[in-house]
């Protein structure tokens, strides 16, 4: 019988220092170089008019990164800017978490119970194709405050994606795993908690990652639409809209990049949580 040590599948762990690891991380360095190159090209493109004498299409209209950085340097001392971050994040997280809290149980229920699925799936499928932004006017009328309308639309943005992912994930669990568990004497509850739930986790996180992206899209659009009003002001969406009204091109770009960073932070957090709760998936 083959012993484990002889097995070609056993890998010897290589010990490296932290610095060596960082140094050897070609993926990271390549990524940093790519961003720097993009910024340099952008700078050249934007300044083409100054330096060469005629304007390049598209990129020539965008303020160069150095100007944007200067505008950013001014903006970070304004409390309004950080309040925009705070407000947008609050809305995204609120809508996103609410969608998870309602969506995951609903998806699981539809997956495990045939009657529940047959009753709730058809109306769900009719509502699902409606884009979240199409709900904005109705929710502005329906909900008493703008803030609540934004929260509702944000919720919808993530909700449908989450449910459909959880449902699909739970339904596609390998029947052999369920049967194996049953043949070892698992009760219905154990089948659910130890097979269906962990088996659905990957889909839950896929749904969360996609849902998070949609939530950001929806929040910003909703913030722009609802405007700065007295009840529901601020947010990064409003920040951009305000910059547009004020004619500050640099600040528009600042707002856009801020959203990019915010989205990146959010999806990194989800990836991190995913790795944490699914250790069996981070082996290679």
């Amino acid at each position: 019988m083959a012993t484990v040590v002889d097995s070609p599948h056993a890998r010897a762990p290589v010990q490296r220092s932290r610095w060596q690891k960082l140094h050897a991380n070609t993926k990271l360095w390549r990524g940093i170089m790519a961003v720097i190159c993009a910024l340099v090209l952008w700078e050249i493109g934007s300044r083409w008019d100054e330096w060469v004498g005629f304007q390049l299409p598209f990129v020539g209209l965008i303020p160069p990164p150095t100007d944007v950085a200067r505008a950013w340097g001014e903006v970070i001392f304004l409390s309004g800017y950080w309040e925009s971050w705070y407000l947008s994040f609050k809305r995204v997280l609120g809508g996103f978490l609410a969608a998870q809290l309602v969506g995951i149980p609903l998806g699981l229920l539809m997956a495990v119970n045939r009657y529940f699925r047959e009753i709730f799936f058809p109306p769900f499928e009719v509502l699902r194709p409606i884009p979240p932004l199409a709900w904005v006017p109705a929710s502005l009328i329906f909900w008493p405050t703008n803030e609540m309308s934004i929260a509702f639309v944000t919720f919808l943005g993530a909700f449908f994606t989450i449910v459909i992912n959880v449902l699909g994930g739970a339904r596609s669990i390998d029947i052999r795993l369920l049967r194996a568990a049953q043949s070892m004497g698992a009760s219905q509850w154990h089948l659910f908690s130890r097979i269906v739930l962990p088996g659905t986790l990957p889909s839950i996180f896929t749904g969360a990652a996609v849902g998070m992206g949609i939530t950001w899209e929806v929040v910003l659009a909703a913030e722009m639409i609802s405007g700065g009003g007295t009840q529901a002001g601020g947010g990064l969406g409003f920040f951009i809209w305000n910059s547009y009204m004020g004619g500050s091109l640099e600040q528009i770009v600042v707002g856009m990049i801020s959203i990019g960073i915010a989205g990146y932070l959010s999806s990194s957090a989800i990836r991190y949580l995913g790795d944490l709760s699914m250790p069996w998936r981070r082996m290679f």
Binding site: M1, A2, T3, V4, V5, S7, P8, H9, A10, D174, R176, L177, R179, A180, A181, Q182, S183, M184, G185, A186, S187, H190, R194, I195, P198, G199, L201, M278, P279, W280, M283
Partner: protein, 284 residues
Amino acid sequence: MDQRVSPKPQATKGAISIRNVTKIYDPEGVNVLAVDDCSLEIGAGEVCMIVGPSGCGKTTLLNAIAGFHSITLGEIYLDGELLCGQEKPLSDQGADRVVVFQNGALFPWKTLMDNVAYGPIVQGVMSKKDAREKARHMLAEAGLGDVAEKYPGEVSSGMARRAEIVRALINDPKVLLLDEPYRAMDALTKSIMHEALLEMYDRTKVTIFFITHDLEEAIFLGDRVVVMTTRPARAKKIVEVDIPRPRDYHILSSERFRTLVQETKDAVHEEAIKAFEAGERELA
């Protein structure tokens, strides 16, 4: 492997009696007769190999014993107790008949040790700590001590399959139901798996119901090889394998082994041709 004990097991449990079992799929509709009046006596501690053309109803029989599918007519007894019959077409699923599936069905989100410990924990017969202790011990016995903490995705398919058999054996089953567990494995891994299985068998003397397409595997492992007819399945021929245990791969080149394989092959070939012609008739 040398100190394998006497061929005739002192097993006292795990006698399966299949009496006049008939299975018709979809009684209202197209009426596919999968198993027709099939009778088979499997002694306690016997290694019974089931071979036959593809789609002949071998797995249907296994599913009936395991309690995944009901039977239409007949009875199946385990140690004199009725598993399923006219009154109760679907047998209860239980840890006394554990299934090892084609392509493996370890839970990917559990380490090998937790996979093995699963049965005793969900049945509530052992504390979590005791179950893991025992799992670790049994894995070590099967030569998997070093990979006990690994996830199934991190080990070779051979190791995974061995762990799966350990996972079945920890429940101290009366019967091990194997559905082509070593399909699609290379010949070398397969022969290692065979020796490992024989070793575990000699230790436990569990009754083995083993479905396979590989006739050499059937003769090498089995006490008896049951050749099934093409659909509807019935026991066509039973080949008594009178090669003494312990067996090792040297018997593969013995005259007796070759004769038995040829004998089985002739029977299977006849049925395969019938199955092929029946398929052509269906198409015509």
